[in-house]
Amino acid sequence: MNLFNKMFPHPVLTLVLWGIWLLLNNTLSAGHVVLGLVFAIFIPWLTSGFWPEKVRMKAPLTLLKFLLIVLWDILVANMAVAKLILGRNKNLKPGFFYIDLDIQTPLGISLLANTISLTPGTVSCDLTEDRKRLLVHALHIEDIPTVVKEIKERYEAPLKEVFTEC
């Protein structure tokens, strides 16, 4: 285990780099698989000084389910926002609101903020200094507590499960 940790200081980064290398070359030929693996092992080694904390993922299945939910939500919300944009400006009720965060890891927070921005209708605007509250702007919002509850249940809960501090 110790040797494994030394070989792969960031196993997730290694896998991601390998995948991106193969995608960039658009091939699965043996030569690129090996070359990509060599890069994927050595780049995390050489740059491990820049990555003080290790990314840990638990429950990869939850992450997969989360991704599917987000993709579905993007699809549904896109229709809703298209309708809002094509409608009359006067009927829109824009608003800022805070989400109190339960999730603490920096990666978890940034993924949550990204998800909020990606799902149409909401854009994450600011994180308070203490990393406790996230400011979100919504294009059209009727009932803030319901939306906050939905975001917390749909996005934050699974992210919190996957990225917890060890």
């Binding site: 960039l24 658009n26 926002v81 400006n89 824009p94 608003g95 990606l118 600011d126 400011l135 702007h137």
Partner: protein, 105 residues
């Protein structure tokens, strides 16, 4: 049949990109306008990329997966740039529509 699916995807992508740009043009304040482009990049570009991946995978001999990379990079960069712009806009106190609900005041 295949062509029909492709054309539907391309049209869908074009439609949502158009709606995104339209939003950029007609919405009243900066924060609301920010919603237009972030939307266009998700479903609009997503549909176009799926169409591209399907076309090149079936019409040529090799499987085309470049599109996955484009999607990943877009999905990472679009929210980050939107976040930065919004943060900067709040910092310099850009005008908001009067009816905006705001807990910061």
């Amino acid at each position: 049949m295949f062509e029909w699916i492709l054309s539907a995807l391309v049209l869908l992508g074009a439609f949502f990109t158009l709606v995104g740009s339209l939003g950029l043009y007609k919405l009243p304040d900066f924060f609301m306008r920010l919603h237009g482009p972030t939307k266009a990049t998700t479903l609009g570009v997503g549909a176009l990329l799926i169409a591209s991946a399907l076309y090149f995978s079936f019409k040529t001999d090799y499987i085309s997966m470049h599109e996955v990379l484009v999607t990943i990079f877009l999905f990472i960069t679009a929210p980050v740039s939107a976040h930065l712009m919004a943060k900067a806009a709040i910092h310099i106190k850009l005008k908001q529509v009067k009816r905006t609900q705001n807990p910061m005041k």
